[in-house]
Amino acid sequence: MIGLEVVFDVSVAVLLVVLALESLYTPNLFTSIAFFIAFGLVMALAWVRLQAPDLALAEAAVGAGLTGVLLLDAAREIAAVRGVERTPRSMVRLTSLLVAAGVGVALVAALLEVPPRAAGLAEAVREALPLTAVEHGVTSVLLDFRALDTFFETAVLLLAVITVLVLQAHQHVRIIPWELSASPVLSGLVGLLAPVVLVFSGYLLWAGTHAPGGAFQAGVLLGAGGILLELAGVHTVSRLPRRALRWLLSLGVAGFALLSGTLLLAGRGLLELPGAGARTIVIALEIAIAVSVALTVVSLVVGSNLRLEPPEQEP
């Protein structure tokens, strides 16, 4: 009798592979994006099976939502949507198949070498958890043990959003109005959803101190809410003064930089949090990260479509 768990795992795995195949090899790019969105949803289920609820939260918002939104938006503009896309030459295809198959075989060989049971760092984290400012393992890794990684992650996000905004600033083409032409039903939905999103992302931020959740999940969700508002024509982020937007986008990096500078001046190690007040510091950092992640997400999606001039009327 095969266990129920195994059936579940294998179903999720098979669905993932099928969805990946479909989204990679469907000739029609639009269908491919639809499959990719479904792929993100099933990825979230895979994270659930791997007991990684933090990742499931992030994937539900990013993989299944925001990446799909970005792709749909770009596909609208770029002409290579179908037909015009060239199929690869058979030589290229053969080589790529061989390379990919070789890498795959090597990885499987490596996988077979991996011991099926390993201690990892779970024990170490659990032991050190009382020493940190928070009670949730993933959050303590992100903002305490490995805060340096998170520092640089916020810097990467800032870099990406700078890329998008700079590119947008140098476009002289007509920018298509981004919001949906006024639909009362949509505005109604946004009106109802926006407060839910706001409260819920606050809840996720708070939950991060002791349960799955945290700055990134909260920020991404808040960003999704901001995008919904922009779509309904309620301009929040795109109406922000440029200077304020810049500051808010760099709030996460600035927070980390300020903290590490202060700590270094105080004679402590880089990002070595003081025992007293560590919790306050971590929560303040989380809020800063969540705000800049949210604005980054909105800018990444809407930024490529921002209007340079005051809104022009739809034809």
């Binding site: 949509l186 939905l189 959803l193």
Partner: protein, 99 residues
């Protein structure tokens, strides 16, 4: 015990509605009827599953969150259905010269 039975019944019914919704999108002939099958059946299915789970819930907070999930899903589902149907209807009324 009675509660367990009711909850079992509601969840089963909900799953059946999901199955029938999927049958609908696979078998129905045009996009409007598929839209109808999908959003109505799934909306009801989710409602029944939420009801079944709420009967099992141990705290009010869990019931509240289940209700919130259901409300949000119902709102976005019906809006999605409306927007899609509107979109398809407008498209169907366009001149067909380019098709």
């Amino acid at each position: 015990m009675v509660l367990d039975g009711l909850s079992l019944l509601a969840v089963t019914a909900g799953v059946l509605f999901f199955v029938s919704g999927t049958l609908g999108i696979l078998r129905f002939p045009d996009v409007f009827s598929r839209l109808h099958a999908l959003t109505k059946a799934d909306g009801l299915g989710l409602g029944l599953i939420v009801l079944g789970l709420a009967l099992q819930a141990t705290s009010l907070a869990v019931i509240g969150k289940l209700a919130l999930v259901w409300i949000v899903a119902a709102l976005s589902g019906s809006t999605a259905c409306y927007l899609m149907a509107h979109f398809e209807l407008e498209r169907a009324q366009e001149p067909h010269d380019r098709a």
